[in-house]
Symmetry: C2
Subunit: 141 residues, 2 copies
DNA sequence: TATACTATTGATAACGAATCTCATTACCTC
DNA sequence: GAGGTAATGAGATTCGTTATCAATAGTATA
């Protein structure tokens, strides 16, 4: 039982492209809606599957939004990094932080933990959203 | 319209106690099951409400598990801290990290972001679980 | 190029966490 | 006590996500 080989379908490519076209983190639902609006007949389940695949292949980062839905974003592969995310518009900046990596590692070891992992993300309002300061959130991330 | 006064019910107290009795992060569902098993007739919706209240009052910390459910834990109130969490048994250690606080703040400002917030948690296997090294995860956190 | 094999797709059903509804209960003040 | 009203809880509802399964379409081979 060898691993089944992956096939190249226009659906996967469409998801990859749509994801790359977006600045910030998007939900599977929103990405599906965007694709449909642009004329693609792609199915919702397929979008979920494609995003999950991209995530395990390291082509996309994923995180849990505050209300529990999974958000995805195209990311520079093969490089560990964190995110600075705008709460309002979803604009995302990739950040590196060797110091934080080392800190996480050492604090785990210090307490006898092994195989450390970490979740480090910074949320805020980006420069533009800070100025505009909407009375209520606009494009929900 | 002044703020409605909170009432003390045995239900809220039961949730507070059950939460304090647990070492790590627990879901509302699990906490409800535990309470029912110990003979309490408390309702599920009430557990959800009580946990949400404890979280806003600062008596409990909450985080999103990897599969998107909210987990809660009794915590030392009024003090900002992060967590070192065992992926296997849920054992949690509170950790402080002024350096990380400062880093998050400065990286946000550096990129023009305001009102920074951050999510910083370290996951791993605690000393005990590292030794035992179960073939498959045991008490799901 | 034609054919067979099978991974992938997608409409829909199923699932599960969380919230809402609303009649009933019980906490608190007077 | 008695009245006002927040809190409760069983069940319905919402909503994101996953499972089902017949139909479709990549891919390899002849």
């Amino acid at each position: 039982m060898t691993a089944p080989r992956k096939r190249n379908t226009w659906q996967r490519e469409a998801v990859r492209t749509a994801l790359a076209d977006d600045d910030g983190f998007v939900s599977a639902q929103r990405l599906h809606a965007t694709l449909r609006e642009s004329g693609s007949p792609i199915g919702l389940a397929t979008v979920y599957r494609a995003l999950a695949d991209l995530a395990v292949e390291g082509e996309a980062d994923s995180l849990q939004s505050l209300d529990g839905e999974s958000l995805y974003r195209a990311c520079t592969p093969g490089q560990h990094h964190h995110h600075l995310i705008c709460r309002n518009c979803g604009l995302t900046v990739e950040i590196e932080a060797d110091a934080v990596e080392r800190w996480a590692q050492s604090v785990a070891i210090e307490h006898g933990f092994t195989q450390p992992n970490h979740v480090v993300d910074v949320f805020g309002l980006c420069a533009e959203c800070s100025v505009t300061n909407w009375p209520e959130p606009r494009p929900p991330v």
